[in-house]
Amino acid sequence: MMWDFLMHNSPALIIAVPLFAAFFTPVIGRFSKKAMYAWVVGAMIFTEFLVLILLYTVYTYGTQIYVFGARPYSMAIPPDSGGIPVRIIFTVDSMSVFMAFIAATVGLAGAIYSVACEKGQSGQEKYYALVLLMIVGMLGMVLTGDMFNFFVFLEINSLASAALVSYRINKGVSVEAAFKYAVVSAIGALMILFAIGILYGEYDALNMAMIASRMQFTTLDKIAMALILVTLAMKCGSIPMHFWVPDGYGKAPGAISAMLVAASQASLYGLFRMCFTVFGLAASHITLGYFLIILGLISMFVGVTMALVQHDIKRLMAYHAVSQTGYMLLGVGVGLATWGTPAFSQYGFAAMEGGIFHIINHAMYKGLLFLTAGAVIYRVGTSDLNKMGGLAHSMKYTTIFFIIGALSIAGIPPFNGYASKLMIYESVYQFNPLLAVIAMIVSILTLASFVKVFHSAFMGPKIYPDVKEVPKSMLAGMAILTFFIILFGIFPQLAITYLVQPAASALANPIGYISRVLGGGP
């Protein structure tokens, strides 16, 4: 009974649980700090549990839809509505639940990490409430099947993350970063709303499946497509619209930087969803595919070369986040450019798999790296690499976690970064060898810049004699992400079979998505 309830209502509960927890956090925080930590971490564990249930359901029974306010909950089109899905519908296919898994896992690690890391700060009730709201935003963005709902969750996500970036005022620098982030995401969200207005005016629908099935691809649709795709490309941090990334990631508290990675990837999910499902049936795949490939190439190269010259540890890692996003755009872009041709089954699908696999790997290792950077800053008190040195003497576990993360991002076996990068190299090489060569050079430069971080922060003589290892809860947060890095590195077939392949096939099958919502599907 309980199990059935959880299984059927999990899409709604995944949003409801953290949202409810967020608004109760300040109330509980007034009475006891410890109870508040338990409340927040408990809510995150429960959310993760619900995501796992949903993962199982979607893997076993296929795409799930959840219609809010309908009875039964799976009735997308009421009999008296004239064939239009009038209610807000959550359409959860394998790709959505894959992203939800990433958001929930990184959120859980971030929440556990924050418990010790933010202990001395004031205003913790607001911090945790915003953390939960940010997770709600990410989960909502990836689960929803409704355009306007997508916009609302995007705004929840950007507002909460901008407020969290400015959490430590840091002599005003963090607030400057938050201001820039908030302005660009606000203007981007307004452009998305404008595009939604255009689409609504044309097709009388807000549901993604309905819009996709009625798509005429007029001039107005092309304008809407440009507004939506460019905005989402900006929100996922692709060059040349990446300027907010180093500011925002670099100045946020450690756990928030890790979660901002997952938040950007929710936008990346939106970009892929719009490219494939909403506009994919009508638009030219070549144009869209090359749009993603060119963005990906520029992001990879400029991101990594800018990272090489940074001397602020988190700003350096933020440029790497830009650079790694390029791999995902490249992989999925090659898939999109070959979509519908014989080349798609030959290597395009493998490229998509590689790109999508890289999303989860990147969330795990970049999250881990940001957490280690946060640990270093927590103990040393500065983020300037020029002032660091010799931390490996006293922070052994952090050093080990950093080495694992750094090797993984550089694509060294046996960690997960290698597993997905190899898939991207192999398939992209068949598309165009030059792209694969550039991707490999970028990987080498990535390794070079992490050698630089490792050398200047962890190696050398002891400069800070009284530095200790970080508290256990921070190590636990890092350990969760390390577990997935090693798991997906040693057993890639596990991730491919259960997570990546279903996600890639779901993304490449918009007809199935549409028919699941509008009827006619299983």
């Binding site: 306007f148 400015s166 620098v173 607030v175 606000a186 307004l190 709303l193 939604i196 670099g250």
Partner: protein, 114 residues
């Protein structure tokens, strides 16, 4: 003519907002530009749902059945609420930036670069 007037207004308001965001160096004026864009988008949504001679979409004791579309109005309400939150947050950021930097000039509020 009258039919297209709201859309022309929308274009003009958004253009003014973009101009303010691109060329004004005062951070508060950038926030004002953002608010203008938001008003333009809201106006766009409301005018999408307008029906000539329509009344508010309330069925109880309705004098006639010609009604404006309710959905864009719901969207606009949501968007206004979000816009208020965004504007309030951005202005409070401006306050903190001014307190620490002593200026709101975007040429000077750029300690993060490179």
């Amino acid at each position: 003519m009258l039919y297209n007037l709201p859309y022309i207004t929308v274009a003009v308001v958004i253009a003014i907002g973009l101009y303010a965001m691109l060329y004004k160096r005062n951070l508060i004026k950038i926030v004002i530009g953002l608010s203008l864009i938001e008003s333009g988008v809201n106006l766009f949504l409301v005018s999408l749902g307008y029906v000539q001679g329509g009344i508010a979409p309330i069925y109880t004791n309705a004098p006639k059945t010609e009604m404006v579309l309710p959905t864009p109005q719901a969207l606009t309400l949501t968007s206004i609420v979000i816009g208020v939150a965004t504007t309030a947050m951005l202005l409070s950021f401006c306050i903190v930036i001014y307190r620490h930097y002593g200026t709101l000039d975007s040429e000077k509020v750029r300690r993060l670069r490179g």
